[in-house]
Point group: none
Chain length 195, copies 4
DNA sequence: TATGAATGAGCCTTCATTCAT
DNA sequence: TATGAATGAAGGCTCATTCAT
């Protein structure tokens, strides 16, 4: 990795939580300057403009979330365990695995009326997230852990929606408790299709 | 209503969808000038500063959502019908009843890391929304429509979370279809407690 | 006095210390609104614009100072006593007889490079002040209290200058002590011409 | 000196007479833009805000006065000559050595009721000015030019006050003549202690 | 690659003033 | 006479971006 590429990565890492917390519009390039201790001009060596940095950072935050989720999933054995792991890793919205909270929710809600490119990126991540859940269950069905009558694709959507809704509830409540109710409901639904 | 109060209301009504769509930080007072056809100074006759306008508009948007929901609920008879009406009225995130989409999601996600006052307002609305659902079911139980063994408070939370999560999914997908999957799941859970 | 004239006087009295303390440029019409509890429009019923109010208030402050000085002088008998009374009444710049301090100094220093009309008003007050001192001494000479060889006009100038310089020194020092040194020097000069 | 420091000095030099003439409140950043031919943003590269520029300019003006006085004093030999030089250099208030007139008087009178920091700066300059006079006389006493019975500290205060009062008188009168009366009085007082 | 001075549009807010009621 | 809604210029300041070094 060249020096330039190193700096670029450092900028992305530093900028990611700032954009995820403050939002795109409220984050100024000077915030990134402060965080990176880089000069104004230097930022523009690595990113043509704020928009390019935004796009990169939106991707980065969502990929970071994805990789943290995958990391957790790897430790789980059965499909059921994997589903629980997925829920658990997202069960602390106040202390989220990605600083600032779920980037899909953050960027999606900011961009849906103003920024088509970001909206599309978020949609892809949303679809991908459901795919992950869906894939876990599919494997569970194939391996005889779950009933093959389960409409698992619909459940993946439901599970994703519930978790995201839980993020909103918990983050504005400033505590994680309500996620346990959501978890319980999901577990109950899951167990209904266990063999 | 005095002329001043009339103008103030007009400003709120004009500003509400703008803030709900663009977000607080990205909305400039000049956007409100354009929308109201009022002069810069005139805006400040009715609102001390941007923040006061923001607070008023956040409240307004959430109350607007509430009143639209209540209006719909009034037309439904049984508790089951009311729950369905609640779901239905929120089942078109792309063409939402409140311009710009769910203000709890919009303002909550923008404010949770930066604006304690707005976050508190959103939390109250979130709690209140669940209370509405909860009250409907409670009445249904009391009137023998649902089993009194239903943990309806937890279900209200789950239902609210699922609907909010559905907003994210549909708005970034640019279509309302996935809300039907969510509706189906909710209906299935509801019917399980019907007498 | 008509109701209108009464209001006008009330405005002047309220505005006088504000302009004398904050200065002309730094005082906004809204400061006067607040102080008078009058509406924006009402102020403009009594004064065509800020400038007219300024002119009136500058005059008022200097006349107020003059009348307070005269009031004090009346109580003194001999010319010497009158000179001492004049010094004494101006010997507490930190707790001045006119709220905000000497208006000649305040308005003179603000206006000398920017406002010819105010400058002229101040000059007249400055000349008049020296005339007062001068008149006291003249009467003292005529009545055999002071030597007729005293160049009393020059002394009046010196005495006025010293007192004004003392205002600056004491007001920025936040205490009145240095005025006593000035008083002593003036007394020493005065006594030299006593018969 | 870096380019930035050069620009900063240029701004200070350009801004100094403007603030000294118009006053702090009445001087807009746009006045400084015009004078420096610099853009709005550029001003804020070198000064965090107006206040920082004000503080710097207040200091600059008073130091400029000080250095011009010192320069003059250096040319004088005896203590008497130095005192005369001091008086003379301040004897043309209408054509002052520092553009806009005595900054102690200008900033002191504007700030004494509104700006504690500036007031303190002015007080220090006022005290320092008297110290200069005082030091001159002390040296004159030590070298046998003046009587050691002279209360020279009190005289320094008196002399400073008289000169400052003279500034007011002359500037509003739009001519320097009265300073000669003040000078004569001071000379008379000085000569009384000459050996 | 990195710097930081320079830019000017745009932001929120205040100002003096006008005018219909 | 008194009100307060309305105005738009101007205020201080921040922003994304450019560019010479």
């Amino acid at each position: 990795m060249t020096k330039g590429e190193e700096t670029r990565q450092m900028i992305i890492k530093s900028a990611a939580p700032i954009f995820n917390k403050k939002g795109i519009a409220a984050t100024a390039m000077s915030d990134i300057m402060d965080a990176t201790k880089l000069s104004k001009g230097s930022l523009y060596v690595h990113f043509e403009n704020k928009d390019e940095l935004v796009m990169t950072v939106v991707d980065y935050n969502m990929q970071l979330l994805g990789s943290k989720v995958f990391e957790t999933l790897r430790k789980a054995r059965s499909a059921r365990e994997k589903l629980i792991a997925y829920i658990d890793v997202l069960s602390t919205p106040v202390n989220p695995i990605v600083e600032g909270g779920c980037p899909m929710l953050n960027f999606g809600m900011e961009a849906d009326d103003t920024n088509e490119v970001v909206t599309k990126k978020v949609n892809e991540a949303v679809v991908f997230s459901q795919q992950i859940i869906s894939d876990i269950i599919k494997k569970g069905i194939d391996e005889g852990e779950f009933s093959n009558e389960w409409n698992y694709k619909d459940f993946a959507l439901v599970m994703f929606a519930m978790i995201e809704g839980g993020q909103l509830i918990c983050r504005v409540a400033r505590n994680n408790r309500k996620m346990q109710v959501i978890k319980a409901n999901l577990l109950e639904q899951i167990s209904r299709w266990e063999l």
